[in-house]
Symmetry: C2
Subunit: 254 residues, 2 copies
């Protein structure tokens, strides 16, 4: 996507966990940037580099942050915009594209790159086996940016069609009841025995993986750092003496 002599903007996915889950490509993109933009807790996970300027902003100011970063790139800076996990999944890459579309012509001449990362649901799935081993979907439960009935429609369609469902942004102070409502809706469509995995901070020191059934799943187990995976009727538990069960969705389906 290159072709200019001005600055550059790279949107970088840090991966879900520590440096061991960050790709060398992401690491190199961070190292070569003059200025980093991102949500504070994500910036804190980027390796320190002398002389690099960091601009932390609040989680809900994505479009402003993207616009500011693009302006700095137009001014000639080498800019990196940082997301946790993968930058393209409910994260900054879409905000940057939107800011380009809405912004001045100069934004369209910029060298813009996106560096992918391991997104949260993959890290959570890996901790328990292979719940995403067959057809699945990812849904953001945030209803800041879309109406709740659309979330309901998608949950219902996905469950009825047999998709495993990964929920991003399941809960926040401003969004306290949505995960409970999602579980209630899914209980009308899916067997109560379907496994639910709460994956908090997968790959980080404060990781906590909790396994439940859909019938018993308690929304209070989730927080802002949690990705929730809800199995399909095909998803299986393999019990292991003295070890946590393996959870997987078979490669075959009927």
């Amino acid at each position: 996507m290159s072709g200019t002599l001005t600055g550059t903007l790279t949107v970088v996915g840090l991966g879900p966990g520590g440096p061991h889950q960050m790709t060398p490509e992401a690491r190199a993109a961070l190292d070569s940037a003059d200025e980093l933009y991102g949500y504070g807790p994500y910036l804190a996970r980027a390796p320190e580099r002398e002389g690099q300027v960091r601009h932390a902003s609040d989680n809900r100011e994505e479009l402003d942050r993207a616009t500011l970063a693009l302006e700095r790139a137009v001014a000639g800076a080498k800019v990196a915009v940082v997301s946790g996990g993968d930058a393209g999944v409910f994260a900054m890459a879409a905000a940057v594209c939107e800011a380009v579309e809405r912004g001045p012509e100069a934004f369209r001449a910029l060298d813009i790159q996106v560096v992918p990362g391991v997104t949260a649901m993959l890290a959570v799935a890996a901790r328990v086996g292979a719940p995403l081993g067959h057809d699945f979907c990812a849904i953001s439960l945030s209803d800041n940016l879309k109406p709740w009935p659309l979330v309901e429609k998608r949950l219902k369609a996905a469950a009825e069609a047999g998709f495993v469902i990964a929920l991003y942004n399941p809960i926040s102070k401003a969004r306290p009841w949505q995960l409970g409502a999602a579980f209630a809706l899914l209980r009308d469509v899916l067997p109560g025995t379907v496994p639910v995995i709460f994956g908090r901070a997968a790959g980080r020191p404060d990781e906590r993986i909790t396994l439940a059934t859909l019938a018993a799943a308690d929304p209070a187990v989730a927080d802002m750092a949690t990705c929730v995976i809800i199995g399909s009727p095909e998803t299986r538990l393999v019990e292991r003496p003295g070890l946590p069960p393996l959870v997987y969705s078979p490669r075959s389906a009927r």
Copy 2:
């Protein structure tokens, strides 16, 4: 998941591209293994290490390969089972779990770990902007292991509910007509203007990214190494003079 004094089995996702897209965690898991098992072309992408034994097998022998690897771990070996992309997405982690479930009791006592990776759709999406920036699903078009009417049902449900759709295993010698049939089905549900991205070998030297509309999408553009992303009606194209357009799915939806 540890707890035994016998061997270990780690399922490792190599990432989609070269070593720059392989996490340090995956690299370390490969380095510490005595024996590697996997589909030949994936094994060829794992870094060489002296004294390490490699067992390449055909792409369609996943369950046999998993069983053999588990048997070697029970015998005391440090075994890594290798997948391209992420091991949990239409890949070996599910085959290993299935082999544990079907196999002898000794398989259930093993230390089994899964190391996540960047899955193909994330790498393809990054090349064009952020087409997976909003709710999306991943569907395998392989009908070896599930009936074609189920694939059709899922495609229709996903398109009608406004999901962006990533197709894995879109085409092969044994599966020549399915991608064309999927496009035909989706044309009945979605506007012909919806963008389609053919992402072949994203992140590798022979990468080829092709952008089309659903109306004009030609299945012959895809091969076995291609992941196909089909936008939702919300997915947008941002034209850029002298540069490829950005393709993104906005964070907000109506």
